[in-house]
Symmetry: C2
Subunit: 359 residues, 2 copies
DNA sequence: ATGAAAGCGCTAACAG
DNA sequence: CTGTTAGCGCTTTCAT
């Protein structure tokens, strides 16, 4: 009755579904109780060295591995961190993610990545992810929630850290930021200090769907610096285009072939600065003698290109974001903090004083 | 006895640890059994439309979300896919990962990423990850296991797919590949067809630690094409350097300033081709008139640079990898398959017939 | 220091 | 169709 297949004991693929040893198997074989096995596995001090070593021996012998899901259900934590990140192939986001991955890799937390490329996806993730039944905390990178999402997010009661998000309504949350306005001002001031007065700006289109603010803030910094230097704004030197090398290239080319062209261009990102560099070449302009170029971000390729740029600590933003998040997980009642990272200005070879060519 | 704190029922921060509604709460409030709630949640056809809607109503009212860990423990699956990927900031790996993320985003599986930057990490992940208690399947990207790992990997009995791994000892596993040898041959043949005979090659250093083969296979393809065309190998036209723009730049510069320099260079990756482009500029050579350049991969920036290159379907490799993996998860006994993706040759503007300059 | 037993929240027979 | 009842594998009091 009990052994229908007694005659063919090896019949049903015994290998392909090898039922894994559980904590009970270990316990039985070690001659202890499951509780004790659990204790040694969790480094409880309440076990005799002898039993501990005995248990560990059996663990090795059976090649036992604890069941993750059972563990997590039992302790009431998911040990998962969700990351919501837009355009996760972009160099700057990748660099932030690397910081996150790196910091998380030395913990027991898993990272669950959600890539956002459309506003729809953004909305989905912002409503679905932040539930304690799914993750213990979430890291939002460069992606502002809508103001109307805030209530839900905070009532979800789950720790959230915003990296590179500046909307005022996220103040109830932890955040790590850097100052785009001052970065933009810094870059522009440097060009001014070099003697430039005709300074162009190329940044992103005003963004309705994602509410990104970086490019605009850098633009405001640019205006501020000009204003402080008493240089009046020239609209033909200012362009807002898609965040994209091509678009930057095209518009820079137009700008550089004007009668009265800028002698320097501040691009709101290194990606766009690359477009400007190429445009200079197309226009027959030497960098930096005929045109100075400053970028923003200091993505990996910037150094290779010799691009002068405003370096924001991308990797660190991810790393520190994780740290703050884990702190909050352990101490949910702490006041929200904002951790501001300092930019660094990287002077390389795409900038110089304007050389006056023989007319 | 049972209610020690009867007099102070609201005392201990009731908000910061809001105990979430469980399936029982829903059941009770809806006047049904937990089983029934579970059924509607899992779209079982065995529920009356009436009770279903009733239950769903309560679900919404209570803002109930099922506990992931409990669900997964109960069904005996982790619903997790592990990805082991080296140098996950590199454009080609990112593109593969994007394919993976994209394919997984429409499933219930989570992706757990493990970034490998050292042989140690590789070893750790190859021994720890592949356990059914942790993930339901694993995707290995561009990272060959050592031969000695194979036994453990297959005896772990967990579905694994290798993307871009060519070692013969992984044949027991599913894999998606593209043919680097034929890609290298293709690129070189094209240059030959253009009339080039002095064709340089710049590829990676022979790699001891990770056993990467792509660069070497492309090199073999290069040699094959030359051989087929009856062109004899010139050692001074061949360089193996770190996988890196700088290194490629430097070595290309040396190559291009030789007395007898190549008229074309095939770089084993677009990244290295970028170094060659820059070196040409440094050396005062116009591309393509004075120097033709072919890359490999077709990473995003290649199109922008107008780089002629061998396109391998990176995104698709990830996407298809996921598909094959999920198929195997559902059908563990299927024969191992190899899915070979076709390369595509992208002719752009860095290649032309060699122009004979006036000596 | 260790064992026994209850329970984490869900699913899946099994009855009815 | 729905309710009841065992688990899934681990942790954690509570006794001893």
């Amino acid at each position: 009755m009990e052994k229908k297949y007694k005659m063919k004991p090896v019949a049903m693929k015994p290998v392909s579904t090898p039922t894994h040893p559980t904590i009970r198997d270990v316990a039985r074989k070690a001659g202890v109780s499951p509780g004790t096995v659990s204790r040694v596995l969790n480094n409880s001090p309440l076990v005799t060295p002898l039993t501990r070593s005995k248990v560990l021996e059996i663990v090795k012998e059976l090649d036992y591995h604890p069941n993750l899901m059972a563990h997590r259900l039992s302790i009431g934590k998911t040990l998962r961190i969700g990351a919501i990140v837009p355009f996760f192939h972009r160099p700057a986001e990748i660099e932030r993610l690397r910081g996150v991955v790196s910091a998380l890799s030395v913990t027991t937390y898993d990272l669950v990545i959600h890539n956002v490329e459309t506003p729809d996806q953004r909305d989905i993730y912002f409503t679905q992810i932040p539930h304690r039944e799914r993750v213990d905390g979430v890291i939002v990178i460069s992606l502002p929630p809508k103001e109307e999402d805030i209530a839900r997010l905070s009532s979800a009661g789950i720790p959230i850290i915003f990296i590179d998000v500046h909307q005022p309504w996220i103040q109830p949350f932890d955040r790590v930021t850097s100052n785009d306005f001052s970065g933009g001002r810094l870059a522009t001031r440097y060009l001014i200090s070099l003697g430039h007065e005709k300074i162009g700006f190329i940044g992103d289109l005003p963004d309705e769907s994602f509410l990104f603010t970086s490019s605009h803030d850098r633009y405001l910094g640019y205006r501020k610096a000009l204003d402080e230097a008493g240089i009046s704004l020239n609209d033909t030197f200012i362009a807002h285009e898609k965040h994209d090398r091509y678009a930057a290239h095209k518009i820079a080319e137009r700008m550089l072939t004007m009668e009265d062209r800028p002698t320097a261009i501040f691009a709101a990102s290194d990606t766009q600065a690359m477009g400007v560099i190429a445009a200079a070449r197309t226009a027959g302009l030497f960098v930096p003698d005929n045109l100075s170029i400053v970028g923003y971000d200091d993505i990996e390729i910037a150094e290779y290109l010799g691009l002068t740029t405003v370096r924001q600590p991308l990797f660190d933003s991810g790393r520190i974001g994780v740290e703050l998040l884990l702190e909050r997980i352990n101490n949910p009642d702490r006041e929200p903090v904002e951790y501001t990272l300092q930019n660094e200005f990287m002077i390389r070879t795409t900038t110089s004083s304007p050389k006056h060519l023989p007319q």
